[in-house]
Each structure stands twice: as structure tokens, then as C-alpha cells.
Symmetry: C2
Subunit: 425 residues, 2 copies
């Protein structure tokens, strides 16, 4: 097939006409398909149904004798801390177990730094306009948190190896108001990129002008590789220690995409001394997280090995969906010069780049035909993609037959929008 850019106006107009007909066909089918968010499918949720029933009437005691039904324990029961520590290759004393949402741990940490400063230092909010480095495309909810706290977001280009480190190094060394950087180091949302070893080490060795610069290391997909097992990257906490930045990294992860998105357990990890500071705040904030939810996870998953075994079942469900997405995109868009997309080895998303100026049109066409997509632009700070080109495909939730149809609609929309664009419409 010829690239669209080499077609004559007449050829393009003929294509467009055929595509409109195809598109109208889809519209008439009254579809209702959803690819907006990285949500587990029913089939995935069913993998964890045992967690609903794994605690018996008399099963409420943690290994240290703590009654999980009663008050107490700020940072998690020992066996839950150990599972997270094993997965993150850290010591349990470097781990704090939270409630069901790691997002709220990140939000709260930023809130704390804004109002009370890092490690009791000067509150960020009293130092001037706080800025964060935001590798983009990235996770929209990270950007929402920055927006909420009036933090200026500096987009950083994402490469297949992670953020553009030359720019990152230059900026953090030059500007003491750059206080943070978002990272999704493994199967990054949405590009699927895994940070290279070199990228991780360069991040760990950053020389920020701000002594209170913090790395928000959201390792949400640490164990979400389609081939099973976990994707190994250098241990950010240890690398930061080696580089003399031991208090810089704040690691977050959760079991929202391991067991139940609506009822899992989250965790943050950092230097032991950072954990002590965080626990001081926690001790004013709460009497403790839901310990029975932790105990049920321990009973159901066993240990880190049990978690990896469980994740292989997720991988068996997810791999074919991502394969279908890749195959459909290749079959229908390959060689036409109208798009590029990622081929992730894990995670929840495929990142898609259309011709510049087409993404919003593609999303609108999809929505009109009953295929809901994440809003175009959502993967950039303030929802503004400078090229209007990036779209996030979230193929996990729909059953595979629906996904096939949704991707067909998507490709038709891409081709139609591209033809319109090239015709100068």
C-alpha cells in the first residue's frame, strides 16, 4: 500500500468517500464500547474472587499477634509489608502500607510537602512557584494532582528509554523551584516504555538545585509483564543511595491491578528515615489503615512468589488483547505513514500518535460511533497535547470480540481523519 502522503488528491478523496461509508456503517450499529481507562476486565477480576472468602470467622490475627479487627498499626502488618518489600527488593522497614489507593498516597505526600515541607524543611508553598518535571505523554492523574496544587508542569519528552535525560539533568540542576518529577518507570502510562538501566542510574544521580527535590516513582506496573515475571530495572532506592541521594526517591505501587481495583492495598517506600517522617504525619492523620484488607491479601496471595504466579494469570488474559491491538493497527495502518504506536511488553496501554492535528478529530469520530476513548490531550499537562497527536488506547476492559470491533472503528476513524487532514479539510 502506498503511504497516504503519496496519493493524489483524487485518490485521497476516493479513499475518504469509502471510509465515510465504512464509518457510517459502524455508526448504524449503535455500538457502546469503552476504551477510556486502564481498568481490569471481568475475567481478570474473577481471578481474585477467592479474596472475598479467604478469611474465616476466626482468622483475624497477624503473625505478630496484632488483632487486625481492632485499632492500631500505622504502617501495615508485617506479612503485608514483607510482600511489598520483596516485590520492590527493599527492606520492610522501608515500606509503609496504605489504603486501597496509591494515588491518594502520592496526593497526600505532595500535600504534606506543600504545607509542611520535606523532612520538616520549608514548605514548598512558601518558596515560590513550585514546578514538577512531567515526562509526556504521561499519566493524566499525576498531572491532575499538580494542577490541584497549582504546580507548574514542565513537559519532558519521552523516549523508548524513558524521559529525555539531557533535558532533565539540565533543568533540575538549574532551577531550585523544580521540586519533583513524575516517573512511571516500568510499562509507562501510556507509552509502555521501560526506563533503561542508564536512565534509572542517571535519574538516581541527578544533582538537583533544590535540596528538597523528590522523585515520584510510581511503579504501578512493576509486575505486569505479559510474559510473566517482573521486568527488572535497577533498584531506584539503592541507586539513589549509591549516588548520595538516599532521601530523594518516593516509590509507590499497589495491588489495584493485581487483585481488586476497588478494594486492594497500596504501598509507598523510601529511606527508613523518610518513612519515620511520613509516619509522624500519619500518626496525626489516622489510627491506621484497613488491616483486614491486608490480611485477606496475605491469605489469598501468600507471598511475593504467589503474587508473581497470580500475575501470570493476568498476563494470559492481557497478552492476546495487546496482540490483537498490534495486529489490527499493523494490518490497517501499516505502511500508510499516518500513525505510529507503541508495542508494549506489559502494562495497560498502547500509546498512539496520529498525524499532527488529528487526535481530537479521531477521538470525536470514535465517540460518535460509540467507542469511548480517553480524551485526546489527556496524556499531556493541562490536557494540552502541543501536536494534537497522542491517543491512549486502553484495551484491557472490553472482552476480546468487542475489542476487535472497537479497534476496527478506531482504525477507520484514524484513516478518515488522516484523509481529511491531507485533503486540507
Amino acid at each position: 500500500m502506498k503511504p497516504y502522503s503519496q496519493l493524489t488528491k483524487q485518490e485521497l478523496a476516493a479513499k475518504r468517500e469509502a471510509l465515510v461509508a465504512q464509518y457510517e456503517d459502524f455508526k448504524r450499529r449503535g455500538l457502546k464500547l469503552n476504551m477510556t481507562r486502564g481498568v481490569p476486565s471481568l475475567e481478570q477480576l474473577a481471578l481474585s474472587s477467592g479474596i472475598l472468602t479467604c478469611l474465616g470467622k476466626d482468622d483475624y490475627t497477624a503473625e505478630n499477634g496484632i488483632d487486625c479487627r481492632n485499632y492500631g498499626v500505622l504502617d501495615g502488618i508485617p506479612e503485608m509489608k514483607r510482600i511489598f518489600a520483596d516485590i520492590l527488593e527493599l527492606d520492610p522497614s522501608e515500606v509503609i502500607v496504605g489504603g486501597n489507593s496509591s494515588l491518594s498516597l502520592m496526593f497526600d505526600n505532595i500535600s504534606s510537602n506543600m504545607s509542611h515541607g520535606v523532612r520538616d524543611g520549608t514548605p514548598w508553598s512558601l518558596q515560590g512557584k513550585v514546578k514538577f518535571l512531567c515526562p509526556a505523554p504521561g499519566y493524566d492523574r499525576h498531572f491532575t494532582t499538580c494542577d490541584y496544587f497549582h504546580i507548574e508542569m514542565i513537559p519532558i519528552e519521552m523516549t523508548p528509554d524513558g524521559p529525555d535525560m539531557d533535558t532533565v539533568e539540565r533543568l533540575v540542576a538549574a532551577d531550585a523551584m523544580i521540586k519533583g518529577m513524575w516517573c512511571v518507570p516500568v510499562f509507562s502510562n501510556p507509552t509502555g516504555a521501560v526506563y533503561s538501566d542508564e536512565t534509572v542510574r542517571r535519574i538516581a544521580a541527578l544533582k538537583p538545585a533544590a535540596p528538597d527535590f523528590r522523585l515520584y516513582w510510581d511503579n504501578a506496573y512493576a509486575i505486569h509483564q505479559f510474559s510473566g515475571g517482573k521486568r527488572l530495572i535497577p533498584n531506584i532506592v539503592r541507586e539513589c543511595e549509591k549516588a548520595g541521594n538516599e532521601h530523594m526517591p518516593l516509590v509507590f505501587t499497589s495491588f489495584s491491578k493485581v487483585t481488586f481495583s476497588g478494594a486492594a492495598v497500596s504501598c509507598m517506600a523510601s529511606s527508613r528515615s523518610n518513612c519515620e517522617f511520613i509516619k509522624k504525619r500519619l500518626s496525626a492523620q489516622t489510627i491506621g489503615p484497613d488491616k483486614l484488607r491486608q490480611l485477606a491479601h496475605v491469605r489469598f496471595l501468600g507471598d511475593a512468589q504467589g503474587v508473581y504466579a497470580h500475575m501470570r494469570k493476568h498476563a494470559e488474559i492481557l497478552a492476546p488483547k495487546f496482540q490483537l491491538v498490534g495486529e489490527t493497527l499493523s494490518a490497517r495502518l501499516g505502511g500508510l505513514g499516518v500513525a505510529e504506536w507503541s508495542t508494549p511488553q506489559g502494562g495497560y496501554f498502547v500509546s498512539f500518535n496520529s498525524l499532527p492535528g488529528c487526535a481530537r478529530r479521531i477521538a470525536a469520530l470514535c465517540n460518535e460511533a460509540g467507542v469511548a476513548l480517553t480524551p485526546a490531550g489527556a496524556t499531556y499537562p493541562h490536557g494540552k497535547d502541543p501536536n494534537d497527536s497522542n491517543l491512549r488506547i486502553a484495551p484491557t476492559a472490553p472482552p476480546i470480540d468487542e475489542l476487535r470491533t472497537a479497534m476496527d472503528v478506531f482504525c477507520t476513524a484514524v484513516l478518515l481523519a488522516s484523509a481529511e487532514k491531507l485533503l486540507g479539510e
Copy 2:
């Protein structure tokens, strides 16, 4: 028996000698009894063991079809909102269901008002030194939250009808930096006082100088009456509406002392429009609370009537403990003029006032004899009781035999400290 103040020095010295012997006897027994916190006993926790097993493998769908295992729903599933709304006599649209800790809802609301202002108004932190009215003795964790946010605490005298309203009215009308007031309106921690109808109405009709003044109405013991049922006080949300203060009250409650303190469900309630503002923040903060925990509560408790029936079982366990405390105090301290104490009809605490200057000594004597008490002073802002007189007795956790011994030790300590005091030691 003669009041201690009418004893001669010699009589007092003889008393003291006998008490020291009694006290040393207790010490030799190597006791380990705990009356520090308002914690449910094992017997109470067992009442809710059904909640551990009430969800079946296929039981995860809320009445509106929401899959409680998956992401979504910021403010709670409808049936859980309805239970809280019924208990608080509000509409479900005035209720937001949280995680397991109402304390963290209060903390977060204050954090939000400090950094982002009330209803998007000027942040409290930018207006000057924020002040809160703190009826005292009161709940130490409320004071800890104020401390954490550097909020100046103004103690307000507690009467059997609630806070001294003449002072409250005068202060809030005069000072626009008074932004909040803590209230535990039913079975107040620690005095056990229930605010009178007049007090509630005067609070609702306050005319604060600060347009962004907020009432932190911690109704933790709304349904914790020893005779069963709930203690009716005027509905603060409706009373505030009538008085033109519809956005002033923020109501908090939880099931921490209904089901499991470590794994229950909390709630806040306010005007519909306040709830919308709070949900805006929530939508940046989290993808939603643990909905399976909510569903399990709904399955186990049924509805508000089911909650009241469940609370009668708690009352049957708690009433005899509070009766024992009252009887022991009367039998050993009655008529001696060395102490006063509350006789609450519900809640978790007995408030005890010794002769001025004796509370810390009593707590130290108890601790040394193996009876742990809430630190003296904890019921006052900054942990400083101006009279060094108030102690909080928390009789719920120990089994009744242990409680009897603990109260015996306590009374001996009170008498010994009083004798020492009157002897000028």
C-alpha cells in the same frame, strides 16, 4: 466517711501509710492492665465476626449495578450512603462515604481548607494565624490535628450541656481568624456530656466573624447509648439551614465502634453543595474508597434498623463496665471530697477530676503499678491541663475482672495522691 480536707495531719498521715501499703501490694502483683484508649473489647469485636464471611464469591454488585471490585464511585455505594443518611437523618446526597478512618476525613478537610480555602475561598493559611475553639476536656486527636497544622487552640469550658456557649458566641463573633470549632455532641470524649437542645441551636445560630468558619461535628458516638437506640439531639445540618448557616456544619461519623475499629467505614456529611466541593478534591485525590468493605457492611448490618439492633448488643457489654466504674468510684471515693467524675449514658469514657495538681501523680502511680492510663493532660490542647486535674478513664477494652482490679488500683492511686497533696508533699 469524713472528707479528706477535714482530717487532721495525723489522720491523713495514717491514711497515707495504709494507702502506701495497699499500693505496694498492687505493685507486687505485676499487673498489666490497659485503660489508655477507647478500644472495643474482644467480646465486642466478636459481635461482628459475621462481616468477615458475609460476602460470597459472587457477591460484589451494588444495587445500582456497580461492580464493587473495580474502580469508580467517589462518594460511596448507594446502600451504604443510605444507612449513614438514615442514622444522621439526612439525605444520601448530603453524605460522602470514606475509608476506614473518620479522623483522616477531618484531617484532610482541615488540610484542604488550609491550602485551598473553604469552597475555593482564600486558603486559611494565607489569612494569618488560624484559631479553633476547643471544648476541653476533649478528644486528644482533634487537638493533635490542630497542632499539626499550627492552629492556635482556644480552650472552651465544657459543661454538662456542652461547651460554654456565652464564651463561644462572643469569641466567634469577634475574631475572623477563628475558623473552626471541634464538637463531639453526643457522649462527648471524655466527659460523656450530650449537648442540650439549646446548645445545639445556639451553635447552629452562631454569627461568626469569619465567613469561612466551619463546625467540625464529630458525632462518633451518635448511636452508642447504653440503653440502646440513639440519643436524639437536634439535627445540626437542619438547624444550621434554619439559621442561615447551611454550609457551616461538617458532620463526621464512622462504624469504627460499630463493627471493626481496624476495618470499618467512615462518613462525612454536609450541605449538598459542600459535598460537591469536597468531591472535586476527592476526584484528584483517589479513584474511590474500598467499596467491598462498604458492601460487606451493608450485607452484615442490613439497614439503619439493623445497625441499632447491633448497637444494643454492644450496649449490653458496655453498660455493666460503666456501672462497675461508677460503683467503684462511689464506694471508694464518694464523700471524701477528693474527686468528681462523670456518669455517662453512652460513649467510651468516664471523665475524672482529681484535686488540682494531682492528675499527673495519679497517672504515674497507676502506670508504675501496671495500670496504663491515657496520659494526664491529653484531654487538653497541647496536652496541658491548667489544673492538672482531668483524667480519662477508658473502661471498654479490659474484661470486667481486669477492669475491677484496674479501678481498685486507680482509686488507691487517687487517694494516695490526694493524701500526699493535702499533706503538702
